[in-house]
């Protein structure tokens, strides 16, 4: 009507533009938000992950299978796989594991490989660089070459991959696990390398890290006498894994001659602090604190899968022979303590094919069962804690790092270029320098990813040598007795484990097993001079020299990561065994256990008696008996005095004791170690307790930062008042130490942060806040083995599934499920939920 006002085409064009803009905004990631419309739309977004109630029996086509495979799912969604041959068995294992845990297995293998930035962007570059520097990817590729040569494991790894890929191939974006939708990427093809990487991850968790750097700093600061006295290699009152009196077969070789690491120029220990060519000073050992851990507020997922080894990684296992059980059959129990996460680190499964079977827990991403039983034997592992992770101080000719001093000569380094792909950014190339010992993890002045990583040190780590641990578990599935089980352990090198074994034939055994470098006493306890050939590892202990025991007269064996042997064992295996209250308590319980039943074993794994508190608390109360306390504080003392030393969820005393101990411990050692920013190893809890009990006048109780002289009574009273002040509200144990089971990407909404449960670091039930019994299992080796077990999670990795976290309540309450070993797929069990038939054609 009025052509002089706005032209008519403006409006449709403008509105069309706005529409396009809206569509684009709805389709792209804005900051931490997922693409909104793609994520929310009810046809392909997260709503498709909202699982309904009951899956039905189904037949599925899975090209690649030779024969039909039947998978029976029970009510807890545990698959019982029945295949006609090994290929189909592992194919089906890959298939159903991918169905339930695809995102988890992929993200964990990407994390191990140092490929997280590829899917999660620049924030993960530091993580990836660290993984590459450790040599994780290089080592995995070398390991894969070895696996290819072992027909048995190669076939299993390939079949497993094919199974995973058969599942992925049929996935539409609508079917992707919710994390892919949230983080907006797609699953990649699975390869046997991913499987190898999963094992590398476990090796890092259980044998990586180490305390060489802080031990070296402590040695430099307080000297050899201090270290010798306050860092004992054994504890007088903890029974070793292999009972004293066991004979060692060490006839064929002697330990290598010790090297005096202090020899050479300069004052003995201070030269640890001098790194030529590194900018001088103590830069090699002075470390900044590690980067802030990603604790995003939802809905901001910044996923850093837990890849830092916890120094408290520990576990329990025990076997009791029929002579000491009520039923006359052996009983085996095991609970590996690991970081608790969702989806759980474990996936429960039964695998059955002619000539091989196992029921237990598997690692999503890898074939076979790691801890479990078949119809004749049961097995379970705890970490061996042997030292196979050593650092060498390197002297480089110049800052190009191209030559290093070794045996009086300059030797060339080698280099590997690692390409780190970054989502939304250019690929980063990183040069990793290798000496003959191993990779240089930190160059000069780089920010450390973990604070116990020294710069300009080369890493010698057993996990970087190729080894095929998968083969062990494949062979255990075929084992029917002691001899086959023992032989199956041969290929297992790293991380060393205490393998507990029991058989329906009545045998019990414990193998402290792994590949052990032949070391001189104390070798690798501190960082070593990398130019000295005598500091290199020189050969390996033969298998027959490994600490192991079978059917001991006492009728029981156990391990809790303590020293494997008494002092008669001729070889040095390391200094990081956990000779603490947990091991002592478990040994005490078992030595008194007579006519044990599986139910007793349940109770033992749930034992929350704190022997550390029982030993030290009476002494602390006595030491502070004469001190003056306010009325409230005196009431708190009464509570402590009446405590039965059990860390039950609802009690207040354990919280009070824990706080008191922590403050006291800190006030004893803070003045010795707190003066600078170096990372020191402090004497442990057990040694400190012994000092309180046996050396109450030790000089270390004096606070050297004050002119006056403090003593134990003073510190104990002061720290008690502080603890009372902090805990004014009187929280009970489970609120003071909440159990938090976090989603792997630290997404709070997918986590359980409010679990109420007892247990403590020093209890057999070693449940700390985010770390603890990741799988509790008890097996009675009756004519037909009867298994019981539970883990804190659920079979499904999907937060929208009723099976995502359904075991947690029962786990916290100490309940166990029957692990029903089905003998054939037609077996009707009240627990059967549905069946899948997988057909190749």
């Amino acid at each position: 009507m009025n052509p002089k006002s706005t032209p008519g085409w403006i409006e449709p064009v403008a509105l069309g533009g706005v529409l396009l803009l809206v569509l684009i905004l709805l389709d792209c990631r804005l900051g931490p938000l997922p693409p909104i419309a793609r994520f929310f739309n009810p046809f392909s977004g997260f709503w498709l992950n909202a699982e309904g109630d009951h899956p039905k029996d189904a037949q599925l086509r899975a090209p690649g299978l030779y024969e039909t495979v039947t998978v029976v799912f029970d009510k807890r969604q545990v698959p019982h796989i029945f295949a006609q041959n090994a290929h189909d068995l592992f194919f089906a294992q890959g298939y159903v594991t991918a169905r339930d845990r695809l995102w988890q297995m992929e993200i964990q293998s990407l994390a191990a490989a140092g490929r997280l930035a590829e899917v999660m962007g620049p924030a993960l570059v530091d993580h990836d660089r660290f993984q590459r520097r450790l040599g994780m990817l290089q080592a995995s590729e070398k390991t894969l070459e070895l696996v290819k040569k072992n027909e048995e494991s190669w076939q299993a790894a390939k079949a497993y991959s094919d199974g995973v890929n058969a599942w992925i191939k049929d996935l539409e974006p609508a079917d992707y696990p919710i994390e892919y939708k949230l983080l907006d990427y797609a699953p990649r093809r699975w390869t046997p390398l991913n499987t190898v990487l999963m094992n590398k991850n476990l090796q890092w968790t259980l044998s990586g890290g180490g305390d060489d750097l802080p031990m070296t700093n402590t040695l430099a600061k307080l000297g050899r006498d201090f270290v010798g006295r306050y860092f004992p290699l054994r504890s007088p009152d903890v029974t070793p894994v292999i009972p004293p009196g066991t004979r060692w077969d060490s006839t064929t070789m002697a330990p290598p001659p010790p090297i005096d690491s202090t020899r050479g120029t300069g004052s003995p220990w201070t030269r640890f602090l001098q790194i030529p060519g590194a900018g001088g000073g103590d830069s090699a050992i002075r470390q900044a604190s590690p980067p802030e851990s990603a604790e995003p507020s939802s809905p901001t997922p910044l996923p850093v899968p837990a890849t830092r080894p916890d120094p408290g990684n520990g576990s329990n296992n025990f076997v009791v022979s029929g002579s000491r059980t009520r039923g006359g059959y052996p009983i085996l129990a095991n609970d590996p303590h690991l970081d608790l996460g969702l989806p759980s680190i474990w996936y429960e499964i039964q695998l059955s094919a002619p000539g091989m079977a196992a029921y237990g827990v598997s690692l999503p991403g890898a074939p076979a069962v790691l801890i479990g039983f078949n119809r004749k034997i049961a097995w379970g592992e705890t970490n061996g804690n042997d030292d196979v992770f050593d650092w060498y101080r390197m002297t480089f000719k110049d800052s190009s790092l191209s030559e290093y001093m070794y045996a009086g000569q300059w030797k060339p380094t080698s280099r590997v270029i690692e390409a780190i792909k970054v989502r939304g950014g250019p690929t980063i190339l990183d040069t990793v320098v290798y000496t003959h010992q191993g990779p240089l993890v930190l160059k000069s002045q780089e920010k450390p990813w973990t604070r116990n990583t020294p710069s300009l040190h080369a890493l010698r780590w057993l996990a970087l040598d190729p080894s095929d641990e998968m083969l062990t578990f494949l062979r255990i599935m075929k084992a029917g007795g002691y001899d086959e089980f023992s032989a199956a352990l041969d290929p297992f090198h790293c991380p060393s484990q205490n393998f507990a074994f029991a058989s329906a034939a009545g045998d019990i055994a414990l193998f402290h097993h792994g590949l052990f470098p032949r070391k001189w006493k104390g070798q690798g306890r501190f960082t070593m001079d990398g130019s000295e050939p005598g500091n290199d590892w020189s050969g390996w202990l033969p298998r027959r020299a490994e600490p192991a025991a079978k059917n001991p007269a006492q009728g029981w064996l156990f391990s809790a990561n303590q020293s494997p042997t008494d002092t008669t064992y001729p070889f040095y295996l390391g200094s990081q065994f956990l000779n603490g209250s947990r091991a002592k308590r478990l040994g005490q319980i078992l030595s008194e256990a007579d006519s044990l039943t599986p139910e007793n074993a349940f109770g033992i794994l749930m034992d929350d008696y704190d022997l550390h508190a029982a030993e030290v608390l009476p002494a602390l109360l006595a030491k502070t008996a004469k001190a003056r306390f306010s009325k409230e504080d005196s009431a708190a003392r009464q509570k402590l005095a009446a405590w039965d030393f059990r860390h039950d969820a609802g009690k207040q005393a354990p919280a009070l004791f824990d706080k008191w101990w922590r403050i006291l411990y800190r006030s004893i050692w803070q003045d010795e170690f707190g003066g600078d920013s170096l990372h020191y190893q402090w004497p442990g809890k057990d040694r400190t307790r012994r000092m309180i009990l046996e050396e109450p006048d030790a000089e270390w109780f004096d606070d050297i930062s004050t002119p006056s002289r403090e003593n134990l009574s003073f510190l104990a009273a002061r720290s008690f008042r502080e603890a009372c002040d902090i805990l004014r509200s009187g929280p009970d144990w489970s609120h003071y130490r909440p159990v938090q089971i976090r989603h792997l990407a630290h997404i709070d909404a997918f986590s359980r942060l409010d679990v109420m449960a007892g247990g403590c670091a020093d209890c057999v039930n070693a449940l700390k806040g985010t770390h603890g019994p990741s799988w509790r299992m008890v097996v009675a080796l009756d004519k037909e083995p009867r298994g019981y077990g539970i883990y804190p999670g659920g079979q499904s990795g999907n937060p929208g599934s009723p099976h995502y976290a359904d075991f947690i309540g029962d786990w916290a309450a100490g309940r166990y499920y029957n692990l029903t070993f089905l003998t054939d797929p037609g077996m009707v069990s009240g627990e059967t939920s549905y069946r899948l038939q997988l057909r190749g054609k």
Binding site: M1, T6, G8, W9, E11, P12, L15, G16, V18, L19, V22, L23, L26, D27, I36, A37, R38, F40, N41, P42, F43, S44, G45, F46, W47, L48, N49, A50, E51, G52, D53, I178, S298, P299, I747, D748, A749, F750, P799, G800, S801, P802
Partner: protein, 138 residues
């Protein structure tokens, strides 16, 4: 009418086409049916929002709010039961915008008489139609 058509199209097409399908459908419906911009927006919004809310609501009920409660937690919403409505709102904004843009194109290329030809348009549905919106450029 437009709302109904869009509701059906969003539901059925949702399983066949990408998530932005309702934008296409609403653009077309906005082009053909409504008489006023406000009505176009309203029917585009309502048709898509209803379809998305209904579909999400069904999945949510079947899932006993298990996942929606987690999503609510993730996006700081007070309750999982709101998540289907948030879903509908997102769909609705897209549908409404698309229908409005479709209507604007129609108004430009082939303006319709402002008076009903076949009878009063029943599709305004009480939706707000701001004065400025219903001026087709004629």
């Amino acid at each position: 009418m437009a709302t109904l058509i869009l509701f059906a199209a969003s539901l059925l097409g949702g399983y066949l086409f990408p998530w932005w399908w309702p934008a296409v459908a609403a653009y077309a419906v906005g082009f053909w049916l409504p008489r006023r911009a406000g009505a176009a927006f309203a029917s585009g919004f309502a048709g898509t929002a209803l379809a998305w809310t209904a579909c999400a609501g069904f999945l949510d009920l079947r899932n006993h709010h298990l996942l929606s409660n987690r999503i609510a937690d993730l996006f700081h919403l007070p309750a999982g039961a709101l998540v289907p409505f948030l879903t509908g709102l997102i769909g609705g904004i897209m549908g409404g915008m698309a229908a409005w843009a479709g209507f604007a194109l129609r108004a430009y290329v082939k303006p319709r008489a402002p008076v009903a030809v076949t009878g009063p348009d029943s599709d305004t549905g009480g939706a707000p139609a701001a004065a400025g919106e219903d001026t087709a450029a004629v």
